[in-house]
Amino acid sequence: MSDTHSETVAYVRETMLPQATPPASEVGAIKWLRENLFSGVLNTILTLVGIAAVVWLVQAALPWFLHGVWNANSLPECRQIIAETWGEGAHGACWAVIRERWNQFLFGFYPSDLYWRPVLALALFFAAVAPVLFTELPRKLLWGSAFYPAVAYILLWGGSLWVPISVMAGFGVGWLGLVAARRTNLPLLGPLAAVLLPLIWWLFLAGPVAGMLEDIIPLGVEEVRSDKFGGFVLSLTIGIAAIVLSLPLGIVLALGRRSDMLLVKALSVGFIEFIRGVPLITLLFTASLLLNYFLPPGTNFDIILRVIIMVTLFAAAYIAEVIRGGLAALPRGQYEAADSLGLDYWKAMQLIVLPQALKISIPGIVSTFIGLFKDTTLVIFVGLLDPLKGITDAVRAAIEWKGVYWEPFIFVGAIFFVFNFGMSRYSMYLENKLKRDHR
């Protein structure tokens, strides 16, 4: 073997060559550019067109941003400052409108000395959802989360403390009913008591009891009525309430749609298809206009509550379909495995099916939530002042700010982006954490 080469080649190098640097076209930025931007004729053309578009956009928009004015009392003053600083005919943003009216974009007409209340409500919301979102936190914190709705209600609307307390007591009544019914050994009485007793409490007793307690021990904070809500306080109130309520409702609807019981299935299918079949604006108009005709005159059915209900129902129908997709994606074996373990329906769903189905559905659920949050701007059509159009138009109606166009849109859009991007990142975190693929 040792003299193989002696017959085929005259010379074989016996020492290693020193390593040379790779050719310039195969390393660093140039390689990256060649591979990613100029790898073919079509890609080269697309790259050049893309660069041209970016350059044109920056050229058109950058001066406008750079010439921005923060300190002015009106649009004409802004224009004057821009003309003085950058010469006649220069364009510039008038951010002064944001500086002057930022509080209305964020809080609507909420009394300015009470701004801390919605802010605290939002901060507490993050504290309350933390144990739900991050499983590392102690489970006992969930009890705190359960009381958050009452706390948020008091912070946002104010009024008598006894009202939310007496509403929350309804759940206690239901639980007591359940416990009492269990002692009787009648199988149907438990669920029946758990549903009916709180309903009776809420419909007939909660109001008078709250009023009575208020008379005995007056306890409350300054009331803020719904017509003071606007801007992001309104958007977040509707958005968060609808998100929190629509998820459980959506899960129930999804399970109902896959149920073997004809009535449950028919009701679920009918509800989902009806809600998905009509535009959200139709539902909002129903909430705002049609209900007024059906309810007796003088009925004071809070408009924000009506909108929250409608948005919740709307989102729940979409969530239900997203979750149904997750349920359908589970292999049949999972259901059969649960059955063979002797688990009943609820246990099987709770321990085996839903955790997996929900995990699959996360991207879809979060998409629906993001869409829902952005849809809250549609409430302008029922006369509520949403941040995007309602407050913007109200601000533009002031003579000093008439004529501003892009600045409010950019400001509001940026805030929406922060919230939605946050939701999106959380969903990615959750997907990674729950990844159980054996790759």
Binding site: V163, V167, L203, D227, F285, A397, K402
Partner: protein, 340 residues
Amino acid sequence: MKNTVFLGTLAAAGLAAGFVSAATLDDVKARGELNCGVNTGLVGFAAPDANGNWSGFDVAICKAVAAAVLGDASKVKYVPTTGQTRFTALASGEVDILSRNTTWTFSRDADLKFTFIGVNYYDGQGFMVNKALGVTSAKELDGATVCIQTGTTTELNLADFFKVNNMTYSPVTIETNAEGEQQFLAGACDAYTTDASGLAATRAAFANPEDYVILPEIISKEPLGPLVRHGDDQWADITRWAMNALIAAEEYGVTSANIEELSKGTENPEINRLLGAGEDNLGAMIGLEKDWGKKAIVGAGGNYGEIFAATIGESTPIGLARGLNAQWTQGGLLYTPPFR
């Protein structure tokens, strides 16, 4: 109003079913607050300031009524309404009076079952063009592109005007006034059409207002006024005469400056009756205090002329001339029946 979101709703639904409220006056007094439907935002007519306090030409009517009925012009809950929700808000009782630059038409009066209590602003549709276009009359707009808000009476007026004058146009439909301004400034349309008051306000906000002209032709009648529901004549009387009090005050020279002086009694019996300074008690006839007229004028911030000057008049950036909205003695259309 102590009722809350969660409970009041359902409980009230059951209780209130019994009595249908015909007496709006009693409702307002019991509530201690006037629910007034206004525009979500229209320059000069209705706009909230940085602290959320509403002001404007239409808002003054709300204040006058609240002051006349409740004695306090600040006891108003302003309900912002859109073009779609305004009539339902009034019909359903969500608002007691709608003061939202609404054109008085036959069908709205008769078919929608509302009562227009008068006209507080005579408007009409006009055109604005770029001066560089060299157009001096709307009749020269043949073949022009026109920016027009969809779903409004202005859209129909425009079609009628061009048809009558045997001209053609291509519409550029827009959704809101702000969008229309952008389109017009960007040159997407040759002419922009809306109510003349709106054109003036829009032009005033341009960076170079002198580059644009408002054409002389007014192609439609737009009598804008406040309205209430059919079926409560007492309430209609109260609101109608609260507005008339503002107009009469201007006619008789009653201003926010001299009203205190005049309300002590004057030689003019008409002023005495208006301000409740004389023997006659007009207030009792409509279920109000004797000095209701004085309260209305003070609450609204002065007489009609003063309100006009402060909100949309020539001294404001909007700069509207009185025109048709001058007193009948000055060649305008404002003419209030006598206070007798």
